[in-house]
Assembly symmetry: C2
Homo-oligomer: 423 residues x 2
């Protein structure tokens, strides 16, 4: 347990590590949606939250919710949230840090109250491990859990509805998990899970947009043939075509600011050392904060694939796998975060989030903001995941200043965003 | 059965198809080394050979050998050979056609005899399927079966020595399988198994060299990372590096006459759509008729890999898998074949063999020549493998003329080859 002489940042980090000890798999941190160790996490957090003056409940999708009241009984509600579930063999900070920082904000208020209530939420599910669908906790908060999702089964054949019952909750009460209509803003702390802040020597990232994403695969079909008896000019080599396209894809992404394009999977058939590949399938994951830019890059890369294939007498066919438009954060909240970081003397930068977060689900319904903390080595989803005490301190100080600014601000306009202003 | 009105080419093709009916796997042609159906093939060939005036035996490695005597008892020996084993689900002509054409040559002599004996050999093994090592029949003929090879086991755990016994042969007699010291020349007919003759509208190919070959693999090691949160300029993408090298490899081969370079295998790890590949392994199969050219291309491609990796902050390490120097055919025999084709009015070209053949094993010991027949569509190792009757006719007519020229030629000089003159 942290002693009184421990800094508040060290105490937050120690709490995250304590929560990491609750796991389905001894010796590592693996804690999926509504798994038994989540009960222990809830019990510990409930104790800490109640000690800080909060009223705690678990909603029907398994979110832990601690309410710190406002100055008046009918004060509107401000949310600070992140998730409590983990990937297999996880680190201690992805998700959990955002909840513990929310708790720390309440503790820093030291029984002072604001014109708004603050609810700190530990979402039950964000990683998508158990039911192969992410964001179940935040979807429950905004009333977007649908029947297809509730009927999903995990690897043991247990449905989501049954999993809720097995945890001791009542799926008939899911509608009451939806946040109140007076909820006016949402803040999520999260580790960056990327190398940008470290590379630019910034402590904090203020997210203006969660990028949009297109996933597809391309199949190049040429003619498999003997590697020794087929001269170069008579080949229809599907792998040579795919390789040229991978290089073109990288060049395209390098030329367009903030575009990231990744070929993560490749399969060449028949896959023998002495046979020219006749068929190659490659994947593409393409992300950008501007949907038009992303769509235009997709079109350009498909045109490029067609041109490369055509000159080689190879065929190419695309298959779209998924598509997600960019989700802007609220411009006013983002601006307040930026000012709060500056006024407390911490280095920050406006940036996009290249990964999805609960804020992506919440933002279309509630004005939202996200604050990233630098991730040493960009390392995440790994037991060695870290966060630096000085960055935790910076995030907490920024959040306290942000609350002051928020208290003194005019009402929020959700439609005004920094979507196109981050460059 | 072919009727008397069938052309001799059609009769040869029909015989190949009849032999293709002897198989380990009903419904396809699969006939590996010393498998039961090889007994039936031997029985049929023995009948045909004896009818043509040949004395037939099976040597200790399972080669079927039919001897057609020369004018005198001590006449030197000329060999015509190819193989009787097949790949799984094979066509009817790879290997077998060469043996049936040898038989047809004897039949065309119509009991005339030459100053040399002719032995037609159906090698027991060339494809390397059963013991994962090719050329067992021709290695036996030149006395190069070693103890490591004899101790090899097939997928059932049967050793090569035991397989010989199981077929009814005696491995103690392997030394008597070695061809007689008065064997002065070797001729192999084979389908091209490539697209060159068809593309150039030639019926026949006269092989001057069996190309040399280098096989290696390269492993590019970068850093796997999140596809969304890692900007392009902070990536160490092993697949992008490998793709650039594959393109460079193809460009290098396109620029060097007769060089063929093939990347047939590629594996990217971890191989997830949303993860930048951290490690990629690719294979290289590189062939050329000139060993210096091939070695210099290998050096150049390794330099290219190092340069590509270096500028990307990626590591690359090569692993050499195998190396085989080019094997020249005998220049005089090759020249005689060329003249014979021209004098019988058939289109031919001097060419390299991009694939290995029994002639590659024989040539270092006995002056050797190879005659390729055009392969429609370049299709081989496939049930749809074909040969055209007019090309079979051309090969037979060329062989008969070749025998006449050989009879009237001065003794052969094995060291004089067309190795560097084919361009």
């Amino acid at each position: 347990m942290p002693t009184q002489s421990t800094s508040r940042a060290d105490r937050i980090i120690a709490r995250c590590r304590e929560i990491a000890s609750f796991t389905e798999v001894p010796g590592e941190t693996t804690r999926t949606f509504l798994s038994p160790p989540m009960h222990e996490v809830h019990a510990l957090l409930r104790r800490w939250m109640e000690a800080a003056g909060m009223t705690v409940n678990i909603d029907a999708i398994g979110n832990l919710r601690g309410l710190y009241p406002g100055l008046t009984p009918n004060a509107p509600r401000f949310l600070i949230a992140s998730h409590l579930d983990t990937v297999p063999n996880a680190g201690a900070f992805d998700g959990v840090l955002g909840v513990i920082l929310g708790l720390a904000v309440i503790e820093e208020l030291r029984d002072q109250h604001l014109p708004f209530a603050i609810q700190v939420i530990g979402f039950s599910e964000e990683e998508g491990v158990r039911f192969n669908k992410p964001f179940l906790g935040s979807l429950g908060l905004v009333g977007k859990l649908d029947t297809e999702t509730l009927a999903r089964t995990d690897s043991n054949g247990t449905s989501l509805t049954q999993a809720i019952r097995n945890f001791g909750l009542n799926p008939d009460e899911l509608s009451s998990a939806v946040t109140t209509s007076d909820t006016f803003a949402y803040l999520e702390f999260h580790i960056e899970q990327g190398p940008v802040l470290e590379d630019e020597d910034s402590q904090l990232g203020i997210v203006n947009t969660i990028v949009g994403q297109t996933r597809l695969q391309l199949t190049f079909t040429g003619q498999s043939n003997h590697a020794g008896t087929t001269p170069m000019h008579l080949r229809r080599d599907a792998l040579a075509a795919a390789a040229e396209w991978i290089v073109a894809t990288e060049t395209c992404a390098n030329r367009q600011a903030d575009l990231v394009a990744t070929v993560g999977k490749i399969e060449a058939r028949p896959g023998a050392i002495n046979v020219i590949p006749g068929e190659v399938t490659v994947s593409l994951d393409l992300r950008h904060h501007n949907d038009d830019t992303r769509q235009s890059a997709v079109t350009s890369l498909l045109d490029s694939a067609t041109a490369i294939a055509s000159k080689r007498n190879v065929n190419v066919s695309p298959q779209f796998l998924s598509q997600q438009d960019a989700v802007p954060m609220n411009a006013q909240l983002t601006h307040l975060l930026y000012i709060a970081a500056a006024q407390t003397g911490h280095s920050s930068r406006i940036m996009t989030s290249g990964a999805g977060h609960d804020a992506m689900i919440i933002a279309p319904h509630i004005p939202s903001a996200m604050l990233f903390l630098r991730t040493p080595g960009g390392l995440s989803h790994h037991p060695d995941e870290l966060v630096l005490p000085q960055d935790v301190e910076a995030a907490l100080a920024t959040a306290m200043e942000f609350l002051t600014l928020l208290r003194d601000s005019p009402p929020l306009h959700n439609k005004l965003t920094l979507k196109d202003a981050h460059a």
